[in-house]
């Protein structure tokens, strides 16, 4: 190798004079093109809506279509529809055969859950303007229905109190340290623990000391109980299944694969029949508990596959680095692999959660459990409400949509909160 001539160094640039405000001038290629920050409304409209003859025609057609739809919907909601079918049957739809004198148990549960949701929002995320708008709109919708039906003022007040508790829980978290610290971690653990306990807590509030029995869970309340059990139970089943399926040990691998393939191979309806007829002999009496088991088993099989996808998406280097650091297999799974795999699988898992939320309506068909949609069926079976079936089903659809939309929003939050260490 011969000696290379020294590389000529560029001349040292003079430092900017110390002190005083410095004006930063970007090099020409970094300067923004002469685009003003605000575009005039008229200019925006002409540029985006009427750019050419074809564009103008498309805009007019879409506007006409949208206009007809919006006017039609508004007309239906405010003039055409007879919402009496909802308001007259609101208890039936909401809680069905749940004993009315025990209604305070329901209100208390809702208040507790709202408070915990507020805490959770404050702990891991924040309530943005859109969330507030969503809450206000939902609240207005509910109160409109109640007022329309001539409900006692107390139910509206209870509802407002529940929303108030949501915000109370949210603002309570201002005492939480913002920066990462052991104290913050403890706050998060406590809130997480409370959330995990909320479902059993709600069941205790509903049932203990002369409360309802499980056959009295009815209407929307039943959907609200079954879906979380299915989702949480499904996750609990899914994680070991996914790990088992990724395992090297043949028996474990084959058992898990067989479980997943068998469960996914039959429709949920079929498994609900199993709950109705076969599980009776296996785990006995309580139909709702049998249904919960079937929902968890069914959801678990799907979620296991999503988590396995997450496991496979992890680069092999992560396993190797965990080994090289000296972690044993269990530690590597628990500390390195699962946290990352679960984060990757959040979107499909939430998709499955939304699916199971909607599938809770299936229990009406065969199990003679009556949830929201089933009770809507009975509402329009009453002679005076027979013409109002559209109103009843629209209401049910809106309620399901609202909850599904909330789940999807929360999943986005979770993803973002978990995404801090994204590679």
């Amino acid at each position: 190798m011969s000696e290379l001539p020294p590389i000529p160094r560029p001349e040292q640039r003079p430092l900017p004079p110390a002190g005083g405000p410095r004006k930063i001038v970007l090099p020409p290629h970094r300067q923004r093109a002469g685009r003003p920050f605000r575009v005039k409304a008229r200019e925006w409209i002409s540029r985006n809506l009427f750019p050419s003859l074809g564009g103008t025609i498309l805009t007019l057609i879409s506007a006409g279509f949208l206009g007809i739809m919006v006017v039609g919907i508004l007309w239906f909601v405010f003039f055409d529809a007879n919402w009496n079918v909802i308001t007259a049957n609101r208890w039936l739809l909401f809680a069905g055969s749940f004993p009315r004198e025990e209604a305070w148990r329901l209100w208390t549960s809702i208040a507790v859950v709202m408070f915990l949701i507020g805490l959770a929002y404050g702990t891991w995320s924040s309530l943005g303007r859109r969330d507030t708008l969503f809450i206000v709109l939902t609240g207005a919708f509910v109160i409109f229905l109640m007022a329309h039906g001539g409900a006692t003022i107390w139910s509206s007040i209870w509802f407002l109190v529940a929303i108030g508790l949501l915000y109370l829980g949210y603002y309570l978290t201002v005492w939480m340290p913002r920066e990462t610290s052991p104290r913050r971690v403890w706050h998060q653990r406590i809130v997480g623990g409370l959330l995990a306990l909320s479902l059993p807590l709600v069941l205790v509030i509903l049932m203990v000391a002369g409360g309802a029995n499980t056959r009295q869970f009815d209407g929307f309340v039943l959907n609200l109980i079954l879906a979380p059990v299915g989702i949480v139970g499904g996750l609990v089943v899914a994680i070991p299944l996914a790990l088992g399926r990724a395992s090297n040990m043949r028996t474990i691998k084959w058992t898990c694969t067989a479980y997943i393939e068998v469960v996914r191979g039959a429709p949920l309806l079929g498994w609900l029949f199993v709950a109705l007829f076969i599980l009776d002999d296996v785990i006995g009496g309580d139909l709702i508990i049998r249904t919960m088991v079937v929902l968890a088993v069914f959801t678990g099989a799907y979620m296991a596959e999503y988590i396995r996808g997450g496991l496979q998406a992890l680069p092999r280097g992560q396993y190797e680095a965990a080994q090289a650091v000296g972690l044993n297999q269990l530690q590597a799974m628990q500390l390195i692999v699962l946290p990352q795999a679960l984060r990757i699988s959040i979107p499909p898992i939430v998709g499955q959660a939304i699916a199971i939320w909607k599938d809770t309506t299936l229990v009406t068909i065969i199990l003679t459990l009556r949830e929201l949609k089933g009770n809507a069926d009975s509402a329009i079976a009453q002679s005076e409400f027979i013409p109002d079936r559209i109103e009843a089903y629209v209401f049910v659809a809106v309620v399901f949509w609202v909850v599904a939309f909330m789940m999807s929003r929360i999943s986005q939050r979770v993803e973002r909160a978990q995404g801090i260490g994204e590679r």
Partner: protein, 283 residues
Amino acid sequence: MTDELSPVDIIAESAGPKAAAAVQPATNGEGEVFSPRLAGSQDIIITENVDKWFGDFQALDDVSLRIKEHEIVVILGPSGSGKSTYIRCLNRLEEHDAGRIVIDGIELNEDVRAMAAIRSEVGMVFQQFNLFPHISVLSNITLGPQKVRHMPKLEAEALAMQLLERVGIPEQADKFPAQLSGGQQQRVAIARALAMQPKIMLFDEPTSALDPEMIKEVLDVMQELAESGMTMIVVTHEMGFAREVADRLVFFDEGALVEQGTPEHFFTNPREERTKLFLSQIL
């Protein structure tokens, strides 16, 4: 671990000044070459007739190599020559199919406890860094000491900060790996490996995934580590590092150990044709 000293102190104490010029290579009984500064050292890694197969492909073919404590060995070779496979066998990320590997008196075999003991004595730095992206830089380093050595949290964090000082980026402790540059990530990876207080460090092409301007900062850390007396086995294409720092160069081709010798020997007078060809291609 009953040591009162932190690994940093231990490493610093055992630091022998590297012999300025290893002019005359000494030779042990088996024709292996090492610097005079290693004259009193024991063999810490012994590999005898190691074979490794991936299906029909023979990745390692009868590799025998002894490495002394405090020795810096640089492994060279074309891509696919088995050099990475070799050092991955040394901490059992790969299992060898035949032959023996003995590390600090512990033979690598099916025994899980032996494996655990080896892993805590041998630190590894990967080409792709392989930091854990979901936890902070500090937690990346404290994880091993806390979970494997059961070191109290505060002590582990103090150790981690000490190591981050040593690799020159203490101010990055609370960031996540993705927020760091490649060179910084690799330095964190070195700190993470050092936190387990290893006797041996393996480097698998530590600078190959880095942008050119970041290579030097990593090599500087490695050189400092070498001067502190760590036993190091480095797979690299950085010839400058090999020439400056290594006690011995080893050349692999097609899974076999073809030639070994001092940097002097390699850069002035390589014996084998394959070595000459390889060196002419990369120099």
